[in-house]
């Protein structure tokens, strides 16, 4: 029974795949997406079941038979499902569910332009590969599914084949992620050679000498860092994520980049137990750098999805700050809390970031633009989108009582209290970062929903039902996870304790302390609700609608009135230019040397159609897999 539990989503998704393969264009979309949403639900249930069943039950493991190459050689991979993967599966489930439901309506806008069956194929495969990454208990399967994820993501990013920007971005992403996965594969090969077995269980308790440890640390950090888009390995993300269809970008930003977090926790922390302090220091530093850098870059964006993409960099930074900080203080209770807060932020970020991308998608769906310079005034036409968008924005800015606040609060709190000078400095900077986040999202809200539209908005109404459902579902989660945050926190704590084999007795003190903030959050929630009700039901009665105060000009004001998104925070940028100078240096010394090569590729292949790239990619993956198989055969 348990076995089938793990396999259930896989089966479902495979059915989805079959649908996508056999059915023609638009007919393929609905069943595939429906099935994938069902699969997501099963994932959620599965994860919850695992996380809530008490620790004594052994980890669910199962065997997956895959036919490879010629029929005579048969390979069995073991899948496993422990708390760590369960937690990530939960996240995947939530994001997957939302984006699948959303996609049902959203992808229809590509009807006749792009092949929808192709989309549903790639999408289902994408979900499947991510799920496999999380459950695989075997190096080879891990690598295969990892590569599969990379390619399918590539296809989804380059979904709009017509747009050259998308193709370039996709290629950039692909090449970078290959260089990343190359490193990962390398390090996994090393491990394999050391342990002599491809199963994770054999890696556990593998004792490594110092040099190997640092080597692996480096390889893993860079390898996964590229996937996670940590500065300075980030620069594929702001190009790639905005180009994909919005629900896919939700999946990309919401979950795919977090597989890197999973990878790091899985290999460097859970299995190999590398030197926590050094690793933590590296991760935390990279984290805070990405947080500051990504957010301050996001401050300047005039493209809604690019803005969010940069925020993904920033928020990943937050996550790594939490985890890294936690690792630095490992034996300490605060360390446990910090790591679990980091994990918690993974969940929260998945929720609000995918919600943000979905709202941006809804705006694109109706208005057809994501340029903040010309958008505006949509709040009156798309109220639900506006509400969910603002909830998400407030949540990412860490506004109580929403979920973004809970995890940020825990991260900052645990780091500040840890009397560790470096971490304290990092935490204080993190407060600064959240102010930046808030400002940039006020810009997003005002330029998208509130202030004067530059384009005249005629007969714009709110988005179709599936999209609304997806948005409301996520916004509801934002509030729920924020107010009752100790529930998911318990899950994360448990996960972490399982990683570290740490006992939770000391941690429970915090849980008891949490009581007061709960009462306070309740108070806050009540006050907010009261003020909402009062202002809507009493004040609005008395409201009299008058034209906008245009300072007495007789003719209505000029069309382009107000502040263009470009000119928000120019003074701030001017004054606090150091953080932007930093960008300059990073580009000059690190990114440009790296990217220039990729760009050369791009230019050479630019004239050719996307399929050429695909060919290259396919060949590449075959080679990698072949090498792995051969190796496994040899031993």
């Amino acid at each position: 029974m348990i076995t089938s539990d793990v396999l259930l989503p896989i089966y479902l998704l495979i059915i989805g795949l079959i649908f996508a393969l056999i059915l023609r264009d638009s007919k393929a979309l609905d069943p595939a997406l429906f099935i994938s949403s069902v699969a997501s639900v099963t994932m959620i249930l599965l994860a919850i079941q695992t996380l809530t069943s008490d620790l004594t039950i052994p980890k669910i493991t199962t065997e997956l038979q895959i036919l490879l190459g010629t029929s005579n050689l048969l390979k069995t991979f073991t899948l496993s499902l422990d708390e760590l993967s369960a937690f990530f599966i939960l996240t995947l489930g939530i994001v997957g569910l939302a984006s699948s439901i959303y996609g049902i309506a959203y992808i229809k806008r590509y009807l006749g332009v792009e092949s929808l069956s192709f989309y549903s194929l790639a999408y289902t495969l994408f979900l499947l590969s991510m799920y496999l990454v999380l459950v695989s208990n075997d190096v080879v399967l891990f690598i295969i599914s990892w590569e599969l994820m990379a390619i399918t993501a590539f296809f989804l990013i380059a979904f709009e084949r017509t747009s050259e920007v998308a193709r370039r971005a996709a290629l950039k992403y692909l090449l970078m992620s290959y260089s990343g996965s190359g490193l990962i594969i390398m390090s996994l090969l090393i491990l394999y050679l050391l342990s002599g077995s491809t199963s994770f269980t054999s890696l556990k308790g593998l004792n490594l000498d110092v040099t190997t440890q640092y080597l692996l640390m480096l390889l893993f950090t860079v390898g996964f860092g590229i996937k996670a888009a940590l500065v300075p390995m980030h620069n594929w993300l702001p190009d790639a994520h905005p180009e994909a269809p919005s629900n896919v970008s939700a999946l990309l930003s919401g979950f795919m980049i977090k597989t890197a977090v999973y990878g790091i926790l899985r290999f460097t922390v859970s299995l190999l137990r590398l030197n926590y302090y050094v690793l933590g220091f590296v991760l935390a530093s990279l984290g805070i750098i990405s947080a500051i850098y990504g957010t301050s870059m996001a401050l300047l964006q005039t493209d809604s999805k690019k803005l969010m993409a940069y925020h993904s960099v920033g928020q990943i930074g937050y996550i790594f700050l939490g985890i890294g900080g936690g690792l630095m203080l490992y034996p300490n209770t605060l360390g446990i809390i910090a790591v679990s807060a980091g994990l918690f932020h993974v969940l929260n970020h998945a929720v609000f970031k995918s919600l943000l991308f979905l709202t941006a998608g809804s705006v694109i769906y109706r208005v057809g633009s994501r340029d903040l310079n010309i958008l505006g005034g949509l709040a009156r036409y798309m109220p639900i989108t506006f509400i969910s968008g603002s909830i998400a924005s407030l949540s990412i800015s860490g506004i109580p009582p929403l979920n973004g606040f809970a995890s940020k609060w825990l991260i900052i709190l645990s780091l500040l209290l840890s009397n560790h000078p470096i971490l304290v400095i990092y935490a204080s900077l993190a407060i600064f970062v959240s102010a930046l986040t808030a400002s940039s999202f006020v810009k997003y809200l005002s330029r998208t929903y509130l202030s004067n539209p530059i384009k005249s908005l005629s007969n714009i109404r709110d988005v179709p039902l599936p999209m609304i459902i997806a948005q409301l579902f996520l916004s509801f989660l934002c509030v729920l996870l924020g107010v009752f945050f100790y529930v998911p926190l318990n899950l994360t704590l448990r996960t972490v304790s399982n990683i570290f084999i740490a006992d939770l007795t000391s941690v429970n003190i915090l849980i008891t302390k949490v009581f007061n903030i709960l009462t306070f959050l309740m108070l806050l929630l009540v006050m907010i609700i009261i003020s909402l009700v009062v202002s809507i039901y009493t004040l609005r009665r008395r409201a009299r609608v008058v034209p906008l105060w245009t300072f007495g000009t007789r003719d209505s004001l000029p069309t382009k009135l107000g502040l263009s998104a470009t000119s928000y925070y120019t003074e701030f940028e001017h004054t606090y230019s150091f953080s932007y100078k930093f960008r300059l240096y990073v580009y000059r010394f690190i990114i440009d040397p790296l990217t220039s090569k990729f760009m050369k590729f791009v230019r050479t292949y630019d004239s050719v159609d996307t399929y050429l790239y695909v060919m290259l990619v396919v060949v590449d993956i075959f080679l990698t897999v072949l090498v792995l198989i051969v190796l496994t055969m040899v031993v």
């Binding site: 300072f551 000009t553 009135l561 107000g562 502040l563 000119s567 120019t570």
Partner: protein, 550 residues
């Protein structure tokens, strides 16, 4: 004077059809087609600076329309009035705006009010008339009665604001906390920086000139003229009286002249103090605002003491003044001024301690000297850009020839130098008043014969707190003026804002606008109908009250 005429003939030669020397200036007649060369000759050859364009419906005199372009030769202490006579059927003349930027408004005004076509004007939009004013209706033509209120029509000339597509606009006014009178500035901004500005003014038209030409008699006009401006009203009445006196060749008694200068200087002091207060308020420094006005209050009392009224003194008549000053009021004046000077000194010194105010004044609202000349800016604005212009020196009037004072000049070209000039002028005015009081001659204050012959031209300038105020009068029959033209200083200064506001941070835009001490009602004195509502605009007797409220 003769040498001026000679000079003119040297420069312009046969282009001058005939010339006529009037008090304080020379009128030369030229052919319309020669106008461009003549203007170029005067600006480049003689260094004349544009003053005003006057359009006259002289069909009652010689059956033609006249356009009179006035230039000021500061170094020769005289005005040059270039007159072109235009056919009554379709009056048209080449524009001189390409040569002197300042003439932009003047020519558009003539076009609006007298229907004199200006060919080749760079910006031939409506300036003064409301957007819905019926076409071919020209208020200043004699056949147009002052009480007529034409029906608004959309067929009429309409004002089209110039807006480039990529620019983002912020509306400043007509009703904005900064502006105490309705004006519309449209600031085109990039980030927090102003890149361009559109101006739409003349919301406060009261038809005073038309009124003066049609209804009022010589000695009634001073009282109306005083109400052109709420702050420097006395300047206007003095200027009007001088113009008429120049035209009629009336000799004004010495004592009257002294009293006029005395009151003028008092007015200058209170105006500058008022401006200082406003500047502080605009810079968010209300304490300075309150204290500036606290110091101003005794000056107002002083004005009331001398003239019998806080504002709109109403002591001017053609040929002299109505009210004499007596011994004890003189003593009071001396005492109060001494006190004011101390207070003011303290105020200025402690204002320098407010760093952020100083920082904002420096380097904002730059008006380069070359632009200043070409726009023909006046008063503190000109002096702040290093131009040495002061009517009290260049075209001496009243009693200024008898007193010695220095004209502060700053070449910073920014708001700071404009402020400093006003600051120093207050000291100067106080010393001038002291001198006047010492030298005050005895005698009558009103000349005996005030006979005014008809169709004589008079031109006069007075240095208002905001700069040179100019009145031009053609005397008429039945003790009424035939044409009365008023040109307030702000009329020349406001167009220069386009230059000042360029690349100026948004926070300093209000300060820059305020730094020319704009007096919109002076500028807008003209037509009959209010632009915004198209309704009649009552003559506002309480301008001071309005400004006082701020």
């Amino acid at each position: 004077m003769v040498d001026v005429v000679k000079l003119l003939y040297d420069v312009l030669g046969v282009r001058i059809l005939r010339h006529e020397v009037i008090k304080g200036g020379v009128i030369i007649d030229v052919k319309p087609e020669d106008l461009g060369d003549v203007v170029r000759g005067i600006t480049e050859g003689l260094g004349g600076i544009y003053t005003v364009v006057v359009g006259v419906d002289a069909r009652g005199i010689d059956g033609k329309y006249h356009n009179i372009y006035v230039f000021s030769l500061d170094n020769l202490k005289t005005y040059i009035l270039i007159r072109v006579r235009l056919s009554p059927e379709d009056p048209k003349v080449e524009s001189i705006t390409p040569i002197v930027k300042g003439a932009n408004w003047g020519e558009r005004e003539v076009k609006d009010l007298l229907g004199i076509n200006v060919l080749g004007h760079p910006d031939p939009r409506t300036l003064i008339l409301p957007d819905d004013w019926p076409s071919n209706t020209y208020p200043l033509r004699k056949e147009f009665n002052y009480y007529v209120r034409p029906k608004p029509s959309n067929l009429g000339s309409s004002y089209v604001p110039k807006r480039s597509e990529e620019v983002v606009a912020l509306p400043y006014g007509p009703y904005h906390p900064l502006l105490h009178e309705p004006e519309y500035f449209e600031l085109h901004i990039k980030g927090e920086t102003v890149v361009d500005v559109e101006y739409r003014g003349f919301h406060v038209h009261r038809g005073i000139e038309k009124l003066g030409e049609s209804r009022l008699t010589y000695n009634q006009i001073p009282f109306v003229a005083e109400r052109i401006c709420g702050i420097c009203g006395f300047v206007h009445s003095v200027c009007y009286c001088q113009a008429v006196e120049n035209a009629a060749g009336i000799e004004v008694p010495e004592r009257a002249l002294y009293i006029r200068s005395l009151v003028l200087e008092v007015e200058r002091i209170h105006s500058h103090l008022l401006w200082l207060g406003v500047a502080c308020h605009v810079l968010g420094f209300d304490t300075g605002f309150m204290h500036a006005w606290r110091i101003r209050e005794p000056v107002m009392y002083l004005a009331e003491l001398l003239t019998g009224s806080r504002k709109t003194y109403g002591i001017n008549l053609v040929g002299g003044v109505r009210r004499d000053v007596n011994k004890d009021s003189i003593e009071k004046v001396v005492k109060i001024l001494k006190n004011v000077k101390e207070e003011y000194d303290y105020f200025v010194r402690s204002l320098t301690s407010v760093k952020e105010v100083i920082k904002r004044l420096e380097g904002s609202g730059i008006l380069p000297k070359s632009e200043a000349i070409s726009y023909g800016v006046l008063g503190p604005v000109a002096r702040g850009s290093g131009l040495k212009r002061d009517v009290r020196i260049d075209h001496p009037y009243a009693a200024y020839k008898d007193v010695s004072f220095k004209v502060p000049i700053y070449s910073g070209c920014d708001n700071m130098s404009r402020l400093m000039i006003r600051v120093e002028e207050v000291y100067e005015s106080i010393s001038i008043i002291d001198q006047l009081i010492d030298k005050l001659p005895s005698g009558p204050i009103m000349s005996e014969d005030v006979e005014v012959p008809e169709f004589k031209e008079g031109f006069s300038g007075v240095e208002a707190p905001r700069g040179e105020d100019v009145h031009y009068v053609i005397t008429g029959r039945f003790s009424k003026v035939y044409r009365w033209k008023v040109r307030a200083p702000s009329y020349n200064n406001i167009p220069a804002l386009k230059v000042m506001l360029h690349e100026c941070p948004l926070s300093d835009a209000p300060l820059t606008i305020a730094s020319i001490d704009p007096c919109f009602s002076c500028t807008d004195r003209l037509v009959v109908v209010d632009v915004v509502s198209g309704k009649k605009f009552k003559v506002d007797f309480r301008t001071l009250a309005r400004r006082g409220r701020l």
